[in-house]
Symmetry: C2
Subunit: 247 residues, 2 copies
């Protein structure tokens, strides 16, 4: 991981991710102020940590590009992946509570994160109401996302969990301009399993089953959602656990 200073071509004011990230709803003038806050970026290679459990919080982060996972590790070796994070999403928010990050954030591919120095950010948020509001919305949606995840782990069967996971990814990628039906899984079967509270073998078996049922095609980590309605019926026989999210 290495820190780089943001050059002028690389500011929030020109970032296409503005619609997902902090600048939502800000005037150009206000975005310029945010630019003064975000003067640094961190480049991560696959496997690098953006931050680790226990480190003091100095900043929160916006993902510029790439994919990260956040995970909790238990002393006995087990670990739980609590989220996969795409460009425009914010990371490090769980560290605000006691000024130390609560989880590890690890890059699943080469990635880059914008550094938002948190103390400065709070000051600026007091001056720009819509920045403050957007930050509250982001935190709140993070809560909603986690609660949907809880619903998945607590109430759905393995099959349903995997289907809604695939649809959730699909939606989030689509919102970012990627194909909703065909994409690359940046995470291993084991990581998917951890996220969904099932074993990697079960993930693999389900992928095979979904393929046999004509729901998906999958080759390595390249997946194609063939029968969206079928997946929807599996996942959300119930509700749209996968749908809204980052606005």
């Amino acid at each position: 991981m290495n820190r780089i200073t943001t050059d002028s071509s690389n500011k929030c004011s020109t970032c296409v991710l503005g619609q997902f990230c902090l600048p939502v709803g800000l005037s150009n003038e206000d975005i310029d102020k945010v630019d003064t806050l975000v003067t640094e970026k961190i480049r991560l290679k696959k496997g690098d940590a953006l931050y680790r459990q226990g480190e003091p919080l100095t900043a929160v982060y916006g993902i510029k590009f790439g994919t990260l996972k956040t995970e909790y590790a238990l002393p006995d070796g087990r670990e739980q992946i609590t989220g996969f994070h795409l460009p425009g999403e914010m990371l490090g928010l769980d560290g605000i509570g006691d000024n130390h990050y609560q989880s590890n954030a690890i890059a699943l591919e080469d990635s880059e994160a914008c550094v938002v120095r948190f103390a400065d950010f709070e000051t600026l948020a007091r001056q720009i109401p819509s920045l403050q509001q957007q930050f509250h919305r982001i935190l709140s949606r993070e809560l909603t996302q986690d609660q949907r995840h809880l619903l998945s782990l607590g109430s759905l069967r393995a099959e349903e969990r995997l289907a809604s996971f695939l649809l959730n990814l699909s939606d989030r990628l689509a919102a970012r301009g990627y194909s909703p039906v065909e994409y690359h899984l940046r995470m291993s079967r084991e990581e998917i399993g951890s996220y969904l509270g099932i074993q990697l073998e079960t993930v693999s078996r389900l992928f095979s089953r979904f393929t046999d049922s004509g729901l998906i095609q999958i080759k390595q980590r390249h997946i194609k959602l063939v029968d969206m309605n079928g997946l929807l019926e599996l996942a959300g026989k119930s509700s749209a656990i996968h749908c809204p999210h980052s606005a």
Copy 2:
């Protein structure tokens, strides 16, 4: 449920829950300002909803006394309880993201909640840095709490989940001045099961097993934690999923 106007004897400035709620870290002068914001309370009878999924958000709430649960309902009838909430904790935060509450908040016993009109709150938070900071901390801790819950549902066995649930309650009650070893469960076996992602029969069986092992004594919903260390070992063979929380 009925709304009542806060009388002067019932303000944040005199509330013993200040140490858990919004006023943490505020000067007396600033707390007075918060008082002007919280002019109303809602009294709930057991079973009443403080808010329901889909209702527009107008306020967030601080629990004055009582116990609430928050739950997600799936169209097919299944539901997931995402949290049990004690005095001093804030509710409704998941509604900030899109201005509509995402879950139902239901009283498990007669309870009372302080109404924090959200728009006014954001305005005041811009004027009082430590209020803003405390709000961020509360949101962030809520995230941490949910992530611990995810860890529980995703990585622990039924036995471990129940043990850490009991210890988590114990800690939170202790922080509020109640006995950490003996308390009243406000929720049914079914609600515990929903929260932990297991069936009510499993909860019941585990209580019996814990009793036989000399870990607890339980009569109806009155529970006594006899062997804390034993429970700790079960729950947190791994880590202290139950420990920190609301500061």
